[in-house]
Protein backbone atom coordinates (compact mmCIF):
# COMPACT_ATOMS: atom_id res chain seq x y z
CA UNK A 1 0.00 0.00 0.00
CA UNK A 2 1.22 3.44 -0.89
CA UNK A 3 -0.59 6.68 -0.26
CA UNK A 4 1.03 9.57 -2.06
CA UNK A 5 -0.31 13.03 -1.38
CA UNK A 6 1.28 15.68 -3.55
CA UNK A 7 0.81 19.42 -3.11
CA UNK A 8 -2.61 19.15 -1.53
CA UNK A 9 -4.37 22.47 -1.39
CA UNK A 10 -7.73 23.50 0.00
CA UNK A 11 -9.22 26.95 0.05
CA UNK A 12 -12.71 27.32 1.44
CA UNK A 13 -15.28 29.58 -0.25
CA UNK A 14 -14.80 32.03 2.60
CA UNK A 15 -11.25 32.56 1.42
CA UNK A 16 -9.74 30.59 4.25
CA UNK A 17 -6.64 28.74 3.00
CA UNK A 18 -6.80 25.59 5.05
CA UNK A 19 -4.11 23.66 3.20
CA UNK A 20 -1.31 25.40 1.35
CA UNK A 21 0.36 22.60 -0.52
CA UNK A 22 1.05 19.61 1.71
CA UNK A 23 3.04 16.56 0.64
CA UNK A 24 2.85 13.29 2.49
CA UNK A 25 3.60 9.67 1.79
CA UNK A 26 2.34 6.73 3.79
CA UNK A 27 3.70 3.28 2.94
CA UNK A 28 3.38 -0.29 4.08
CA UNK A 29 1.53 -0.67 7.34
CA UNK A 30 2.93 2.18 9.35
CA UNK A 31 0.95 4.39 11.67
CA UNK A 32 1.35 8.07 10.94
CA UNK A 33 0.07 10.61 13.44
CA UNK A 34 -0.73 14.16 12.38
CA UNK A 35 -0.48 16.76 15.09
CA UNK A 36 -0.88 20.49 15.17
CA UNK A 37 -2.88 23.31 16.73
CA UNK A 38 -6.58 23.85 16.08
CA UNK A 39 -7.18 25.23 12.64
CA UNK A 40 -3.90 23.89 11.28
CA UNK A 41 -5.74 21.90 8.66
CA UNK A 42 -5.34 18.38 10.06
CA UNK A 43 -9.01 17.50 9.80
CA UNK A 44 -9.25 19.09 6.36
CA UNK A 45 -6.29 17.03 5.21
CA UNK A 46 -7.73 13.74 6.34
CA UNK A 47 -11.14 14.51 4.88
CA UNK A 48 -9.63 15.50 1.56
CA UNK A 49 -8.08 12.10 1.11
CA UNK A 50 -11.41 10.34 0.71
CA UNK A 51 -12.88 13.53 -0.70
CA UNK A 52 -15.47 14.08 1.99
CA UNK A 53 -14.05 17.53 1.52
CA UNK A 54 -13.17 18.37 -2.06
CA UNK A 55 -9.54 19.47 -2.45
CA UNK A 56 -8.86 22.66 -4.38
CA UNK A 57 -5.75 21.23 -5.94
CA UNK A 58 -3.07 18.59 -5.77
CA UNK A 59 -2.91 14.85 -6.23
CA UNK A 60 -3.88 12.01 -3.97
CA UNK A 61 -2.59 8.68 -5.21
CA UNK A 62 -3.73 5.56 -3.47
CA UNK A 63 -1.81 2.59 -4.89
CA UNK A 64 -1.32 4.52 -8.09
CA UNK A 65 -4.88 5.74 -8.63
CA UNK A 66 -5.40 9.49 -8.38
CA UNK A 67 -8.47 9.90 -6.20
CA UNK A 68 -8.94 13.55 -7.16
CA UNK A 69 -9.85 12.78 -10.74
CA UNK A 70 -12.29 9.97 -10.02
CA UNK A 71 -15.93 10.20 -11.05
CA UNK A 72 -18.77 9.32 -8.68
CA UNK A 73 -18.73 5.59 -9.34
CA UNK A 74 -14.95 5.40 -9.19
CA UNK A 75 -14.88 7.37 -5.96
CA UNK A 76 -17.42 5.07 -4.40
CA UNK A 77 -15.37 2.02 -5.33
CA UNK A 78 -12.23 3.65 -3.97
CA UNK A 79 -13.90 4.58 -0.72
CA UNK A 80 -14.64 0.93 -0.06
CA UNK A 81 -10.92 0.52 0.40
CA UNK A 82 -10.62 3.48 2.75
CA UNK A 83 -11.87 3.04 6.26
CA UNK A 84 -12.74 6.12 8.26
CA UNK A 85 -13.18 6.64 11.98
CA UNK A 86 -14.81 9.87 13.05
CA UNK A 87 -14.53 12.16 16.02
CA UNK A 88 -18.28 12.17 16.61
CA UNK A 89 -18.51 8.43 15.85
CA UNK A 90 -21.10 9.19 13.15
CA UNK A 91 -23.17 6.16 13.95
CA UNK A 92 -26.86 5.90 13.16
CA UNK A 93 -28.35 6.01 16.62
CA UNK A 94 -31.59 4.24 15.94
CA UNK A 95 -29.92 1.31 14.26
CA UNK A 96 -28.36 -1.59 16.10
CA UNK A 97 -24.66 -2.15 16.60
CA UNK A 98 -24.70 -4.90 14.00
CA UNK A 99 -26.38 -2.72 11.40
CA UNK A 100 -23.90 0.05 12.00
CA UNK A 101 -20.97 -2.30 11.62
CA UNK A 102 -22.43 -3.77 8.44
CA UNK A 103 -22.69 -0.26 7.02
CA UNK A 104 -19.02 -0.75 6.28
CA UNK A 105 -19.91 -3.43 3.75
CA UNK A 106 -22.61 -1.48 1.92
CA UNK A 107 -20.26 -0.84 -0.95
CA UNK A 108 -20.27 -4.58 -1.63
CA UNK A 109 -23.96 -5.48 -1.55
CA UNK A 110 -26.79 -4.51 -3.86
CA UNK A 111 -29.30 -1.89 -2.75
CA UNK A 112 -32.10 -4.44 -2.55
CA UNK A 113 -30.10 -6.76 -0.29
CA UNK A 114 -29.06 -3.80 1.81
CA UNK A 115 -32.69 -2.82 2.25
CA UNK A 116 -33.57 -6.30 3.44
CA UNK A 117 -30.48 -6.43 5.65
CA UNK A 118 -29.50 -9.55 3.75
CA UNK A 119 -25.72 -9.49 3.95
CA UNK A 120 -23.56 -12.44 2.85
CA UNK A 121 -22.61 -14.88 5.64
CA UNK A 122 -18.93 -13.97 5.33
CA UNK A 123 -19.82 -10.40 6.25
CA UNK A 124 -21.82 -11.58 9.24
CA UNK A 125 -18.85 -13.70 10.27
CA UNK A 126 -16.49 -10.78 9.96
CA UNK A 127 -18.88 -8.62 11.95
CA UNK A 128 -19.11 -11.07 14.82
CA UNK A 129 -15.37 -11.56 14.85
CA UNK A 130 -14.74 -7.85 14.94
CA UNK A 131 -17.32 -7.21 17.62
CA UNK A 132 -15.58 -9.79 19.76
CA UNK A 133 -12.22 -8.25 19.04
CA UNK A 134 -13.28 -4.76 20.05
CA UNK A 135 -14.92 -6.02 23.19
CA UNK A 136 -18.56 -5.73 22.23
CA UNK A 137 -19.57 -9.38 22.09
CA UNK A 138 -23.28 -10.08 22.59
CA UNK A 139 -24.13 -6.45 21.97
CA UNK A 140 -24.90 -6.76 18.29
CA UNK A 141 -28.62 -6.09 18.71
CA UNK A 142 -28.34 -3.19 21.07
CA UNK A 143 -29.37 0.17 19.73
CA UNK A 144 -26.45 2.53 19.46
CA UNK A 145 -28.10 5.21 21.55
CA UNK A 146 -27.82 2.82 24.50
CA UNK A 147 -24.01 2.79 24.33
CA UNK A 148 -21.37 4.86 26.04
CA UNK A 149 -18.91 7.03 24.12
CA UNK A 150 -16.12 4.52 24.34
CA UNK A 151 -18.37 1.71 23.17
CA UNK A 152 -19.61 3.80 20.28
CA UNK A 153 -16.12 4.47 19.06
CA UNK A 154 -15.42 0.73 19.20
CA UNK A 155 -18.39 0.25 16.90
CA UNK A 156 -16.84 2.90 14.69
CA UNK A 157 -13.59 0.97 14.65
CA UNK A 158 -15.38 -2.27 13.76
CA UNK A 159 -17.28 -0.51 10.98
CA UNK A 160 -14.10 0.85 9.45
CA UNK A 161 -12.15 -2.39 9.77
CA UNK A 162 -14.88 -4.62 8.35
CA UNK A 163 -14.31 -2.88 5.03
CA UNK A 164 -10.92 -4.66 4.97
CA UNK A 165 -9.49 -1.35 3.86
CA UNK A 166 -6.05 -0.65 2.44
CA UNK A 167 -5.75 2.34 4.74
CA UNK A 168 -7.47 3.66 7.85
CA UNK A 169 -8.16 7.37 8.14
CA UNK A 170 -8.84 8.45 11.67
CA UNK A 171 -10.12 11.94 12.45
CA UNK A 172 -9.68 12.88 16.11
CA UNK A 173 -11.06 9.62 17.50
CA UNK A 174 -10.69 10.58 21.12
CA UNK A 175 -11.76 14.21 21.37
CA UNK A 176 -15.15 13.25 22.76
CA UNK A 177 -13.77 10.72 25.23
CA UNK A 178 -12.31 10.93 28.71
CA UNK A 179 -8.53 10.34 29.08
CA UNK A 180 -8.72 6.74 30.20
CA UNK A 181 -11.18 5.70 27.51
CA UNK A 182 -9.09 7.63 25.02
CA UNK A 183 -6.07 5.51 25.86
CA UNK A 184 -8.08 2.29 25.57
CA UNK A 185 -9.52 3.29 22.23
CA UNK A 186 -6.17 4.36 20.83
CA UNK A 187 -4.53 1.13 21.92
CA UNK A 188 -7.36 -0.94 20.48
CA UNK A 189 -7.26 0.98 17.25
CA UNK A 190 -3.55 0.61 16.70
CA UNK A 191 -3.50 -3.03 17.79
CA UNK A 192 -6.30 -4.02 15.45
CA UNK A 193 -4.64 -2.17 12.59
CA UNK A 194 -1.31 -3.80 13.32
CA UNK A 195 -2.87 -7.27 13.49
CA UNK A 196 -4.29 -6.81 10.03
CA UNK A 197 -1.35 -4.93 8.53
CA UNK A 198 -3.44 -1.86 7.83
CA UNK A 199 -1.65 1.49 7.70
CA UNK A 200 -3.21 4.25 9.74
CA UNK A 201 -3.22 7.97 9.18
CA UNK A 202 -4.49 9.56 12.31
CA UNK A 203 -5.27 13.15 13.09
CA UNK A 204 -4.97 13.62 16.80
CA UNK A 205 -5.10 16.43 19.24
CA UNK A 206 -3.46 14.84 22.23
CA UNK A 207 0.23 14.82 21.41
CA UNK A 208 1.17 12.28 24.06
CA UNK A 209 -1.19 9.68 22.67
CA UNK A 210 0.19 10.36 19.22
CA UNK A 211 3.76 9.88 20.34
CA UNK A 212 2.87 6.68 22.17
CA UNK A 213 1.29 4.92 19.23
CA UNK A 214 2.74 6.32 16.05
CA UNK A 215 5.61 5.08 13.91
CA UNK A 216 5.90 8.52 12.38
CA UNK A 217 4.74 11.95 13.33
CA UNK A 218 3.93 14.82 11.00
CA UNK A 219 3.17 18.30 12.21
CA UNK A 220 0.89 20.77 10.49
CA UNK A 221 0.86 24.45 11.18
CA UNK A 222 -1.39 26.91 9.41
CA UNK A 223 -1.93 24.66 6.43
CA UNK A 224 1.68 23.69 5.94
CA UNK A 225 3.73 20.66 6.84
CA UNK A 226 6.37 21.89 9.29
CA UNK A 227 7.61 18.67 10.83
CA UNK A 228 8.15 15.09 9.81
CA UNK A 229 9.96 12.54 11.86
CA UNK A 230 9.83 9.79 14.43
CA UNK A 231 8.21 10.31 17.81
CA UNK A 232 11.68 10.37 19.29
CA UNK A 233 12.56 13.30 17.07
CA UNK A 234 9.51 15.21 18.16
CA UNK A 235 11.31 17.29 20.75
CA UNK A 236 10.59 20.55 22.39
CA UNK A 237 11.85 22.50 19.42
CA UNK A 238 9.67 20.50 17.07
CA UNK A 239 6.74 21.08 19.33
CA UNK A 240 7.33 24.81 19.13
CA UNK A 241 7.65 24.75 15.39
CA UNK A 242 4.39 22.92 15.02
CA UNK A 243 2.36 24.71 17.60
CA UNK A 244 3.80 28.17 17.39
CA UNK A 245 5.03 28.46 13.83
CA UNK A 246 8.44 28.31 12.15
CA UNK A 247 9.57 31.74 13.16
CA UNK A 248 8.51 31.56 16.76
CA UNK A 249 11.41 31.83 19.19
CA UNK A 250 11.98 28.69 21.22
CA UNK A 251 10.05 28.86 24.45
CA UNK A 252 11.75 28.73 27.80
CA UNK A 253 10.78 25.12 28.10
CA UNK A 254 10.15 23.71 31.54
CA UNK A 255 11.96 20.49 30.79
CA UNK A 256 13.14 21.70 27.37
CA UNK A 257 16.71 21.20 26.37
CA UNK A 258 17.43 18.43 28.85
CA UNK A 259 14.59 16.38 27.37
CA UNK A 260 15.85 16.65 23.83
CA UNK A 261 19.34 15.63 24.86
CA UNK A 262 18.01 12.59 26.69
CA UNK A 263 16.06 11.54 23.57
CA UNK A 264 19.24 11.17 21.63
CA UNK A 265 18.92 14.09 19.29
CA UNK A 266 21.29 16.95 19.83
CA UNK A 267 20.13 20.46 20.44
CA UNK A 268 21.72 21.72 17.33
CA UNK A 269 20.22 19.19 14.91
CA UNK A 270 17.90 20.86 12.43
CA UNK A 271 14.40 19.52 12.11
CA UNK A 272 13.24 18.42 8.68
CA UNK A 273 11.73 21.21 6.67
CA UNK A 274 9.25 20.80 3.83
CA UNK A 275 10.63 21.17 0.34
CA UNK A 276 9.01 24.49 -0.35
CA UNK A 277 10.43 26.30 2.64
CA UNK A 278 8.18 28.35 4.84
Amino acid sequence: MTLDVVDLRKTYPTGDEALKGVDLTVVGSETVAMVGPSGAGKSTFIRCINRLTEPSGGEIRLDGTDLVGLDDDGLRAARRDIGMIFQEYNLVERLTVMENVLTGRLGYVSTWRAFRRDFPPEDIDRAYELLDRVGLEDMENKRVDELSGGQRQRVGIARAVIQEPTILLVDEPTSSLDPETSREVMSLLTEVAAERDIPVLINIHEVELALDHADRVVGLHDGELVFEGTPAEFDERARDTVYRGMDAPPSDAVDGSERSVADGSTVGEPTRTPAGGS
Partner: protein
Amino acid sequence: MSVDTPQWRRFNRRERLGRFLATLLALVVFVGSWEYLDMGVTNLADTPRHITDLIVRMYPPDVAYTGQIIDPLIETVHIAAIGTVMAMMLSLPVAVLAAKNTTPNAATYWLGKLLVTVSRSVNIIVWALIFVVMFGPGALAGIIAVGVRSMGFLGKLLAEEIEEIDFGQVEAVRAAGAPPAAVFLYGVVPQIKPAVAGLAVYRWDINVRGASILGFVGAGGIGVQLFTAVDSFAWRTVAMILIAILAVVLVSEWLSAYTRRLVR
Protein backbone atom coordinates in the same frame (compact mmCIF):
# COMPACT_ATOMS: atom_id res chain seq x y z
CA MET B 1 -16.44 -22.42 10.12
CA SER B 2 -19.92 -22.55 8.60
CA VAL B 3 -21.12 -24.87 11.31
CA ASP B 4 -20.42 -22.17 13.83
CA THR B 5 -21.69 -19.35 11.62
CA PRO B 6 -24.29 -17.54 13.68
CA GLN B 7 -27.32 -16.37 11.80
CA TRP B 8 -28.17 -12.75 12.23
CA ARG B 9 -31.48 -11.19 11.42
CA ARG B 10 -32.55 -7.63 12.08
CA PHE B 11 -35.93 -8.64 13.42
CA ASN B 12 -36.74 -11.76 15.36
CA ARG B 13 -39.30 -14.30 14.21
CA ARG B 14 -42.25 -12.60 15.83
CA GLU B 15 -41.37 -9.14 14.59
CA ARG B 16 -40.88 -10.41 11.08
CA LEU B 17 -44.24 -12.12 11.11
CA GLY B 18 -45.86 -8.95 12.34
CA ARG B 19 -44.24 -6.85 9.64
CA PHE B 20 -45.19 -9.37 6.97
CA LEU B 21 -48.80 -9.41 8.09
CA ALA B 22 -48.97 -5.64 8.21
CA THR B 23 -47.62 -5.34 4.67
CA LEU B 24 -50.02 -8.02 3.50
CA LEU B 25 -52.93 -6.22 5.15
CA ALA B 26 -51.99 -2.92 3.55
CA LEU B 27 -51.74 -4.62 0.16
CA VAL B 28 -55.09 -6.37 0.56
CA VAL B 29 -56.81 -3.15 1.61
CA PHE B 30 -55.27 -1.27 -1.27
CA VAL B 31 -56.15 -3.80 -3.93
CA GLY B 32 -59.54 -4.46 -2.41
CA SER B 33 -60.39 -0.78 -2.42
CA TRP B 34 -59.25 -0.47 -6.00
CA GLU B 35 -61.43 -3.37 -7.05
CA TYR B 36 -64.38 -1.98 -5.19
CA LEU B 37 -64.09 1.25 -7.07
CA ASP B 38 -64.18 -0.71 -10.29
CA MET B 39 -62.26 1.89 -12.23
CA GLY B 40 -59.96 -0.38 -14.15
CA VAL B 41 -56.45 0.43 -15.21
CA THR B 42 -57.24 2.10 -18.51
CA ASN B 43 -58.64 5.19 -16.88
CA LEU B 44 -55.61 5.43 -14.68
CA ALA B 45 -53.17 5.28 -17.55
CA ASP B 46 -54.74 8.36 -19.10
CA THR B 47 -54.60 10.39 -15.93
CA PRO B 48 -51.18 12.02 -16.25
CA ARG B 49 -52.05 13.07 -19.78
CA HIS B 50 -55.34 14.61 -18.70
CA ILE B 51 -53.69 16.50 -15.91
CA THR B 52 -50.90 17.94 -18.01
CA ASP B 53 -53.44 18.82 -20.68
CA LEU B 54 -55.37 20.83 -18.15
CA ILE B 55 -52.33 22.60 -16.80
CA VAL B 56 -51.28 23.59 -20.29
CA ARG B 57 -54.70 25.11 -20.88
CA MET B 58 -54.33 27.27 -17.80
CA TYR B 59 -51.37 29.08 -19.20
CA PRO B 60 -51.15 32.03 -19.44
CA PRO B 61 -53.48 33.15 -16.65
CA ASP B 62 -56.08 35.71 -17.63
CA VAL B 63 -54.63 38.79 -15.94
CA ALA B 64 -57.33 41.08 -17.35
CA TYR B 65 -59.81 39.33 -15.11
CA THR B 66 -58.16 40.73 -12.00
CA GLY B 67 -60.55 43.65 -11.75
CA GLN B 68 -63.48 41.34 -11.28
CA ILE B 69 -61.79 39.32 -8.60
CA ILE B 70 -61.07 42.04 -6.08
CA ASP B 71 -64.53 42.50 -4.62
CA PRO B 72 -65.33 38.82 -4.22
CA LEU B 73 -61.92 38.24 -2.67
CA ILE B 74 -62.53 40.95 -0.15
CA GLU B 75 -65.90 39.43 0.57
CA THR B 76 -64.21 36.10 1.18
CA VAL B 77 -61.82 37.63 3.68
CA HIS B 78 -64.69 39.39 5.40
CA ILE B 79 -66.66 36.18 5.64
CA ALA B 80 -63.69 34.47 7.22
CA ALA B 81 -63.17 37.29 9.70
CA ILE B 82 -66.74 37.70 10.89
CA GLY B 83 -67.25 33.96 10.87
CA THR B 84 -64.23 33.53 13.12
CA VAL B 85 -65.50 36.17 15.51
CA MET B 86 -68.83 34.43 15.64
CA ALA B 87 -67.07 31.15 16.29
CA MET B 88 -65.12 32.69 19.14
CA MET B 89 -68.27 33.92 20.78
CA LEU B 90 -69.98 30.58 20.38
CA SER B 91 -66.99 28.50 21.37
CA LEU B 92 -66.43 30.09 24.76
CA PRO B 93 -69.62 28.76 26.37
CA VAL B 94 -69.18 25.48 24.53
CA ALA B 95 -65.64 25.18 25.84
CA VAL B 96 -66.80 25.80 29.38
CA LEU B 97 -69.31 23.00 28.96
CA ALA B 98 -66.77 20.66 27.42
CA ALA B 99 -64.06 21.14 30.03
CA LYS B 100 -64.02 18.68 32.87
CA ASN B 101 -63.19 21.27 35.48
CA THR B 102 -65.73 23.92 34.60
CA THR B 103 -68.74 21.97 33.45
CA PRO B 104 -71.61 21.88 35.96
CA ASN B 105 -72.52 18.19 35.56
CA ALA B 106 -72.07 15.09 33.40
CA ALA B 107 -75.01 15.93 31.16
CA THR B 108 -73.62 19.34 30.27
CA TYR B 109 -70.21 17.80 29.68
CA TRP B 110 -71.65 15.40 27.17
CA LEU B 111 -73.66 18.17 25.59
CA GLY B 112 -70.54 20.22 25.15
CA LYS B 113 -68.70 17.25 23.72
CA LEU B 114 -71.58 16.56 21.36
CA LEU B 115 -71.64 20.10 20.05
CA VAL B 116 -67.92 20.04 19.48
CA THR B 117 -68.03 16.66 17.76
CA VAL B 118 -70.89 17.42 15.41
CA SER B 119 -69.37 20.75 14.47
CA ARG B 120 -66.01 19.17 13.73
CA SER B 121 -67.24 16.11 11.92
CA VAL B 122 -69.35 17.94 9.39
CA ASN B 123 -67.36 19.62 6.67
CA ILE B 124 -67.80 23.34 6.15
CA ILE B 125 -69.36 22.86 2.75
CA VAL B 126 -72.11 20.75 4.25
CA TRP B 127 -72.81 23.43 6.82
CA ALA B 128 -72.90 25.89 3.95
CA LEU B 129 -75.47 23.75 2.17
CA ILE B 130 -77.65 23.68 5.26
CA PHE B 131 -77.41 27.38 5.92
CA VAL B 132 -78.09 28.30 2.31
CA VAL B 133 -81.34 26.40 2.67
CA MET B 134 -82.10 28.30 5.86
CA PHE B 135 -80.92 31.80 5.04
CA GLY B 136 -80.89 31.80 1.31
CA PRO B 137 -77.83 32.21 -0.87
CA GLY B 138 -75.29 34.87 -0.02
CA ALA B 139 -72.66 35.85 2.50
CA LEU B 140 -74.87 35.38 5.52
CA ALA B 141 -75.03 31.63 5.03
CA GLY B 142 -71.29 31.63 4.51
CA ILE B 143 -70.53 33.49 7.72
CA ILE B 144 -72.67 31.18 9.79
CA ALA B 145 -71.16 28.13 8.12
CA VAL B 146 -67.69 29.36 9.03
CA GLY B 147 -68.85 30.20 12.52
CA VAL B 148 -70.49 26.91 13.26
CA ARG B 149 -67.65 24.88 11.78
CA SER B 150 -64.96 26.73 13.69
CA MET B 151 -66.97 26.60 16.90
CA GLY B 152 -66.07 22.94 17.32
CA PHE B 153 -62.41 23.41 16.55
CA LEU B 154 -62.01 26.36 18.87
CA GLY B 155 -64.28 24.84 21.47
CA LYS B 156 -62.22 21.67 21.69
CA LEU B 157 -58.90 23.47 21.97
CA LEU B 158 -60.23 26.03 24.42
CA ALA B 159 -61.69 23.26 26.54
CA GLU B 160 -58.25 21.68 26.66
CA GLU B 161 -56.77 25.02 27.66
CA ILE B 162 -59.35 25.42 30.39
CA GLU B 163 -58.58 21.96 31.69
CA GLU B 164 -54.94 22.97 31.96
CA ILE B 165 -55.44 26.04 34.09
CA ASP B 166 -54.41 26.39 37.66
CA PHE B 167 -57.72 25.83 39.36
CA GLY B 168 -56.40 27.34 42.54
CA GLN B 169 -56.76 30.79 41.07
CA VAL B 170 -60.40 30.10 40.26
CA GLU B 171 -61.10 28.81 43.74
CA ALA B 172 -59.52 31.88 45.26
CA VAL B 173 -61.92 34.13 43.39
CA ARG B 174 -64.82 31.91 44.32
CA ALA B 175 -63.77 31.85 47.92
CA ALA B 176 -63.89 35.64 47.91
CA GLY B 177 -67.60 35.33 47.29
CA ALA B 178 -67.77 36.35 43.64
CA PRO B 179 -70.75 35.33 41.47
CA PRO B 180 -70.10 32.61 38.80
CA ALA B 181 -69.74 35.08 35.93
CA ALA B 182 -67.10 37.01 37.80
CA VAL B 183 -65.36 33.81 38.80
CA PHE B 184 -65.11 32.97 35.14
CA LEU B 185 -63.98 36.43 34.10
CA TYR B 186 -61.35 36.82 36.79
CA GLY B 187 -60.29 33.26 37.43
CA VAL B 188 -60.43 31.51 34.09
CA VAL B 189 -60.24 34.08 31.34
CA PRO B 190 -56.88 35.67 32.26
CA GLN B 191 -55.27 32.24 32.16
CA ILE B 192 -56.56 31.36 28.72
CA LYS B 193 -56.28 34.79 27.11
CA PRO B 194 -52.89 34.25 25.44
CA ALA B 195 -54.08 30.98 23.96
CA VAL B 196 -57.31 32.53 22.71
CA ALA B 197 -55.61 35.19 20.60
CA GLY B 198 -53.26 32.71 19.01
CA LEU B 199 -55.99 30.17 18.32
CA ALA B 200 -58.32 32.76 16.85
CA VAL B 201 -55.76 33.99 14.35
CA TYR B 202 -54.80 30.42 13.50
CA ARG B 203 -58.39 29.49 12.84
CA TRP B 204 -58.99 32.69 10.86
CA ASP B 205 -56.16 31.66 8.55
CA ILE B 206 -57.76 28.25 8.00
CA ASN B 207 -61.14 29.90 7.48
CA VAL B 208 -59.80 32.10 4.71
CA ARG B 209 -59.01 28.92 2.83
CA GLY B 210 -62.38 27.43 3.64
CA ALA B 211 -64.29 30.57 2.72
CA SER B 212 -62.90 30.43 -0.80
CA ILE B 213 -65.07 27.43 -1.61
CA LEU B 214 -68.31 28.52 -0.01
CA GLY B 215 -69.34 30.02 -3.30
CA PHE B 216 -69.61 26.53 -4.75
CA VAL B 217 -72.92 26.14 -3.04
CA GLY B 218 -73.92 29.77 -3.21
CA ALA B 219 -72.69 30.97 0.16
CA GLY B 220 -70.78 33.96 -1.13
CA GLY B 221 -67.18 34.84 -1.80
CA ILE B 222 -64.86 34.12 -4.68
CA GLY B 223 -66.09 30.55 -4.84
CA VAL B 224 -68.98 31.70 -7.01
CA GLN B 225 -66.65 33.03 -9.70
CA LEU B 226 -64.39 30.04 -9.43
CA PHE B 227 -67.20 27.58 -9.79
CA THR B 228 -68.64 29.37 -12.82
CA ALA B 229 -65.26 29.55 -14.48
CA VAL B 230 -64.55 25.86 -13.92
CA ASP B 231 -67.99 24.87 -15.11
CA SER B 232 -67.52 26.78 -18.36
CA PHE B 233 -64.01 25.40 -18.86
CA ALA B 234 -62.54 28.91 -18.83
CA TRP B 235 -59.20 27.61 -17.64
CA ARG B 236 -57.19 30.75 -17.97
CA THR B 237 -59.69 32.56 -15.79
CA VAL B 238 -59.55 29.69 -13.34
CA ALA B 239 -55.80 29.99 -13.21
CA MET B 240 -56.07 33.70 -12.45
CA ILE B 241 -58.57 33.13 -9.67
CA LEU B 242 -56.39 30.40 -8.17
CA ILE B 243 -53.39 32.68 -8.19
CA ALA B 244 -55.43 35.37 -6.46
CA ILE B 245 -56.62 32.90 -3.84
CA LEU B 246 -53.04 31.72 -3.37
CA ALA B 247 -51.90 35.29 -2.80
CA VAL B 248 -54.59 35.90 -0.20
CA VAL B 249 -53.81 32.63 1.54
CA LEU B 250 -50.11 33.46 1.66
CA VAL B 251 -50.83 36.85 3.18
CA SER B 252 -53.17 35.44 5.76
CA GLU B 253 -50.69 32.70 6.60
CA TRP B 254 -47.95 35.25 7.10
CA LEU B 255 -50.21 37.45 9.22
CA SER B 256 -51.21 34.47 11.30
CA ALA B 257 -47.61 33.39 11.95
CA TYR B 258 -46.55 36.95 12.71
CA THR B 259 -49.36 37.59 15.17
CA ARG B 260 -48.85 34.27 16.91
CA ARG B 261 -45.21 35.03 17.34
CA LEU B 262 -46.06 38.38 18.89
CA VAL B 263 -48.47 36.81 21.31
CA ARG B 264 -46.03 34.16 22.49
